[in-house]
Symmetry: C2
Subunit: 317 residues, 2 copies
């Protein structure tokens, strides 16, 4: 039909005809059926975004950035929350694939060597870009921060502020967690500092960060600095520290990563490392759209967002 062309604003249609069609469309309250369109055109104009935790404002901000970037191009985004559960994530990805999304952006909770999921995506020929969590063996575009740099930056900052017994609440054993842990170790080594093994604990969110800090705070000797692998863990840690009657930043200095929007409203405003979350979302979306647009697989691009230190009271002298 000519109608189809009018709806899609194709150029090759007479202005008079177009007017007539438009009028009738309005009259009938016609709305094109995107499902049928998707089937015929073999594109859905939908992309999937998978994040491990929507409650973490870092990811909510990324979602916003992605959304803002693709909306003007006529795309919608389906947001999925994997709850940091890799099996669940895997099944979510399959569903999105079955729904024929045109592309995928994922902050994956997969274990580092578990490339099975990515192979499935590639088998379907669906372009995707990784964010926040990098997988060395996966040959795909990546947008995120340099986690080792983050780890070094945070740890070095604590050292500069006079901390000598620096503990680390590390994340789950993949992606951003391992890089930051490595950066932490490097910075320590560089400064000639050594710490007991018990100074490295693990957590994944505010609740577990709280638990981890409760363990750290009773160690002897007690740490005088704690680097949390993200803001929620650092925030939870601060709660535990203060509850134990220990002063921040007097007795223990704390730093996190992510610069969540309420950081400076906390009981003790939290020093943190900004990763440019909105930028990550936006850049990832742009790369994805570019990939979708061009037929040929270009060289996967990697964008590293420079981390910046945000100084607040939790690491004040």
């Amino acid at each position: 039909m000519t109608v189809s062309k009018v709806v899609r604003a194709c150029a090759d249609v007479g202005p008079e005809t177009r007017k007539r069609v438009l009028a009738r469309i309005n009259e009938l309250n016609y709305q094109p059926n995107w499902v049928a369109r998707s089937l015929a055109a073999r594109r859905t104009f939908m992309i999937g975004l998978i994040v491990p935790d929507l409650m973490h404002s870092f990811f909510a901000e990324i979602a916003k950035g992605v959304s803002a970037a693709i909306r003007p191009l006529g795309y919608d985004v389906v947001i999925c929350n994997s709850e940091e559960d890799c099996a669940f994530e895997s099944s979510e990805i399959d569903r999105l694939l079955a729904r024929q999304v045109d592309g995928l952006i994922l902050a994956s909770a997969q274990p580092p060597s578990w490339v099975d999921v990515f192979e499935r995506i590639e088998a379907r020929g669906v372009p995707y870009v990784l964010i926040d969590r990098r997988f060395p063996d996966v040959h795909a575009p990546y947008v995120g921060a340099d986690d080792e740099a983050i780890g070094r930056l945070a740890t070095t900052h604590l050292i500069e502020r006079g901390c000598r017994r620096i503990a680390h609440i590390a994340g789950p054993p993949f992606a951003p967690g391992v890089g930051r842990l490595k950066g932490y170790r490097e910075a320590l080594a560089e400064a000639g500092l050594t710490v007991p093994d018990s100074y490295v604990d693990h957590a994944k969110d505010d609740a577990t960060g709280y638990e981890a800090a409760r363990r750290l705070v009773v160690l002897d000797p007690r740490p005088d600095g704690i680097f949390g692998y993200n803001d929620p863990t650092a925030t939870g840690a601060m709660k535990a520290i203060l509850e134990a009657g220990v002063g921040i930043p007097g007795e223990i200095k704390v730093i996190g990563v992510g610069n969540v929007h309420y950081s400076d409203l906390l009981r003790v405003p939290l020093s943190t490392i900004d990763q440019g979350s909105a930028t990550i979302g936006q850049q990832a979306a742009e790369i994805l759209m570019k990939t979708i647009g061009s037929k040929r697989r270009r060289q996967p691009r990697t964008v590293i967002i420079e981390p910046t230190l945000i100084l607040r009271e939790s690491t004040a002298r």
Copy 2:
């Protein structure tokens, strides 16, 4: 095809045949195309969720609740962020409708009397349920809190704690904002308290809440209690108050609404009113699924979640 039946787990297929089909499916790595399925079956197994702000953890939690409730039933949710912009919201709704979602859950940013959007939804025969923000003229299921009760509860609490000059940072002039404002006025009247007009200011998030509080804190006489219409505004307000060198809760007591998850980690832990956000999402989803399931339009159900007071330091004696 018989394959179709196997995929959908229809009962009427021989166990032997099923086995063969399944084997071949696995072999070919076959995955059904949901777009084609949706077109033929006239259902997408997709529902839309529209919220005004994903960064507000209240809505993120609702999204989580909705998602958790519908996932097991084979549905997916498309989350849209309206940015509190009613024109944008309206166009988002149209897109979701064009994508043939089976249902809609919305926390709408429409002005109270602007029922046009809802009529469009109904014209398409798509079931929907309203959450958080109620529209008196719209005959649809609603799940949310009783905003007047919330306003009364918060204000009464401040009065009980000894406040006499209670200011209110009201929300945008619709849905939850007006109810809470009304409850505030009622509680004040009931206690025989009067306040100058300037004690009621407006905001919509943490940034504007901060601005509002800067205006309130310089009033003469200065308020001794502030009721923020949600936690972000109350949080922003606290920042402004503390910056002005005024003590919380000593000189001004503050209460919010929403019980965002970091409330008790704030500089001054924030007293608030819990609305049961996860429950809202879950209940809304259940009602929607029930409506989708049954052919006939049943009487729209309304679920009012009982608000509960969460006491923290910001309103301590």
